[in-house]
């Protein structure tokens, strides 16, 4: 008998960003609160994360999202987001993927044409509205946790790119956000590798120079992602952006390590952070629609519902709409003699050699040759 571990997933994409929705893994996650569960995942489930997101089952652009039981009375379910950079509390595209999967597989009881849901995350409760037609989720709108700008036009010193004005914002994760024109890069699909390079530098420089901490959750304490934004040539879009996701350690002294991969969607949490920055500048009013476009031409539509405070920060309550599509039903399996139980990466597509890939090669040589 082949010994085989199985993980059930519904593969979805939201505006082009793939999200492997993990239905059925919740019994592996311990903890009473979402914050405890996020911490549990970080401490105990990193092997699962690598197996799902690294090769051969994953690839640099892939994310996943764990569906968990709700924490609060009246909530429908909880999520922990699984990204190349680690476990995260919240992600707009992954939330959209989760809702799409849960509704369209019949896992969640729903009513048409509108179902409201409450989703628990480690950064707070997210209210969701799903527009459903004929069993199909045609739009997911989520009221995200309060977003705020920590700094606007902060002069961040970068190797090679010089000093670039950046916004440090929170939109569900902490972002450093910069204008494409300040980096000397065109915001078009053909520039993907240039954008990745600059994005890796932005994020690492911000992590080193700009300590952050979420006033309500001290475990959320570093700049997780970078965004490069600018105007869009598309008439109905308010702007275009790309968020750069890490895929290996970055050394600011070694340009060979300036790698990563792009969020294929317009990025929900990044869009919330961007809207907070625009509001702080007086450039986006409450209720005004903000159509954010990705490099692929897909869009999320955001708006600010109200103002609030988070600790010392003036904050906004953002709402984001997008759409997801199921692309497949996936059982990831791991044979007990597979030489790569945590997957592997290679430097042509990923960051420089990681510990995972070194360990993987050792497992192969220990196994012996045919």
């Amino acid at each position: 008998m082949i010994g085989r571990q199985t993980i059930n997933a519904v593969d979805v994409h939201a505006a082009g960003e793939p999200g492997r929705v993990l239905i059925g893994s919740h019994l592996h996650v311990k903890g009473a609160t979402m914050a405890e569960r996020l911490q549990y995942c970080r401490e105990h489930l990193d092997d699962l994360r690598l197996l799902l997101l690294h090769e051969p089952r994953g690839y640099p652009g892939l994310c996943a999202v764990l569906i968990l039981p709700p924490e609060h009375e009246g909530s429908d379910f909880g999520i922990v987001v699984v990204e190349q950079g680690g476990f995260r509390p919240m992600s707009g595209s992954n939330l959209i993927c989760a809702v799409t999967a849960l509704v369209e597989t019949g896992t969640l009881p729903v009513t048409e044409p509108v179902t409201t849901l409450r989703v628990d995350t480690a950064v707070g409760i997210v209210d969701v509205r799903a527009d459903i037609v004929g069993g199909k989720v045609v739009r997911v709108t989520f009221d995200n946790v309060p977003a705020f700008a920590v700094a606007v036009d902060y002069p961040l010193e970068l190797p090679e790119y010089g000093t670039v004005p950046v916004d440090i914002v929170f939109g569900g994760q902490f972002f450093v956000q910069a204008k494409a024109v300040d980096l000397g890069i065109e915001l078009v699909p053909g520039s993907a590798h240039h954008l990745v390079r600059a994005g890796a530098v932005l994020r690492t420089a911000a992590q080193q120079c700009f300590p952050v901490q979420h006033p309500l959750n001290p475990d959320i304490n570093h700049v997780a992602l970078s965004m490069i934004h600018g105007p869009s040539p598309t008439p109905w879009a308010s702007g275009r952006n790309t968020v750069i996701v890490p895929n290996g350690a970055v050394d600011l002294n070694d340009p060979l390590t300036w790698t990563g991969v792009l969020d294929r969607s317009p990025c929900g949490t990044g869009t919330c952070g961007r809207m907070a920055a625009l509001h702080a500048r007086g450039e986006l009013a409450l209720g005004e629609e903000f159509v954010h476009e990705s490099l692929l031409g897909t869009t999320f539509t955001g708006s600010l519902k109200d103002v609030t405070r988070v600790g010392p920060y003036e904050a906004v309550l953002p709402s984001v709409s997008g759409r997801g599509w199921i692309i497949g039903f996936n059982q990831c399996v791991l044979d007990d003699d597979d030489p790569f139980p945590r997957g592997y990466t290679l430097g042509d597509l990923w960051g420089p050699e990681t510990l995972a890939s070194v360990a993987a090669r050792t497992a192969w040589s220990l196994k012996g040759e045919n």
Partner: protein, 352 residues
């Protein structure tokens, strides 16, 4: 929820290289031989390849094999191989994956300790010998179609490097074989990004500057589409060993030691007297995985001296997938982005 063109895929990797196998949902594909069926899919159903190989359902490291009944009475099953920029006539890692999946899913009956049968690849009949234990295929040795040298010591001029001396050889795909050191590489995993860019550049230069590589028996087979960076072979305890990094278009490294690349290299080594019939050649990938290759016998292809190589490796099932597309999906044929899927450096036979 509605998913169109629902296709059943068994995910698999051989020595680290993904070779997923479509086991259902495609139906009948017209064509007498597997090469005919390959042409049909390429010319009429390329949407299937694009959907499965491009994001968000696929990615640049993915290969897919469509298992189809064979009209050849000697073959139990056939398969059409789909890769990022082409439909190759043969592929070693994919063959190992196909054999493993067919046996481990029970599509073909498994006999322990050895199951032997014949598959039909687009390149022709491939005999396989599978070591099996407790329901698992622990090794697949396949006998490839003939491999041979097109040209030894061809000179090309490559922007950024200068003059390079390369060998051109066929092993089921046509390879530019480059000594890694001559191009400035040690075949260290840290060289990944440079290897993939330079590999594509050298490939494009060879295609442009050398006479087209026309297969002497099958002129309809593709010319140069692949490239291998190699380090010199050495004998260790009576076994010949070497490393290589194959750069697959649009620009990424084969995670396995590459079956067709190993076959092509074996033809070059045999032509140079570096290996004899029956000797084992352990070929290692940049990931550290290995294939075991043997020159089984010699033959001819037209008037060209050729070898019959066999390659052994192991594969593991990774996923069981049902994949399709929602009729409102904006990407039914997927998309590519140049952070992972490089822009083309030469004209591919198929457009992606």
């Amino acid at each position: 929820m509605q998913l169109n063109n629902l296709v059943d895929v068994v995910g698999c990797h051989a020595a680290g290289e993904v070779g997923d196998v479509v086991v259902g949902g495609v139906g009948n594909v017209p064509g007498e031989t597997m090469f005919d069926k390959r042409n049909y899919l390429q010319n009429h159903r390329d949407d299937l390849r694009l959907r499965l190989l491009r994001e968000p359902r696929g990615n640049v490291i993915r290969n897919v094999n469509v298992v189809l009944p064979s009209n050849n009475p000697k073959a139990l099953m056939g398969y059409v191989i789909m890769e990022s920029t082409e439909y190759p006539t043969m592929s070693g890692s994919n063959t190992i994956c196909v054999a493993t999946v067919l046996l481990e899913t029970g599509m073909l009956p498994m006999e322990e300790p050895v199951t032997r049968f014949t598959l039909e690849a687009p390149a022709g009949l491939i005999d396989v010998e599978c070591q099996c234990r407790n329901g698992k295929v622990t090794s697949v040795r396949f006998v490839n179609q003939p491999a041979f040298v097109y040209q030894l010591d061809a000179t090309i001029d490559v922007p950024g490097i200068g003059t390079l001396v390369v060998d051109i050889a066929w092993g089921g795909m046509c390879y530019v074989i480059v000594d890694a050191a001559s191009a400035g590489f040690k075949l260290d995993p840290t060289e990944g990004r440079e290897l993939r860019v330079m590999g594509e550049r050298i490939k494009a230069a060879a295609i442009e500057q050398l006479a087209p590589a026309v297969h002497p028996v099958h002129p309809e087979y593709p010319g140069i589409t692949n490239l291998s960076f190699t380090n010199p072979p050495e004998r260790v305890d009576g076994v010949v060993r070497a490393r290589n990094a194959v750069v697959v278009s649009p620009g990424r490294i084969d995670r396995s030691p590459c079956g067709t690349g190993t076959s092509a290299r074996l033809a070059v080594m045999h032509a140079r007297g570096q290996i004899g019939a029956g000797e084992h050649f352990i070929h290692e990938s940049i990931l550290g995985t290995t294939f075991d290759a043997v020159v089984e016998s010699t033959t001819k292809q037209g008037s060209i001296d050729a070898i019959i190589p066999s390659i052994a490796g192991q594969a593991w099932i990774t996923q069981l997938i049902k994949v399709g597309f929602d009729p409102t999906d904006p990407f039914p044929a997927g998309y590519t982005l140049s952070d992972t899927w490089l822009e083309p450096m030469y004209a591919y036979e198929t457009t992606a």
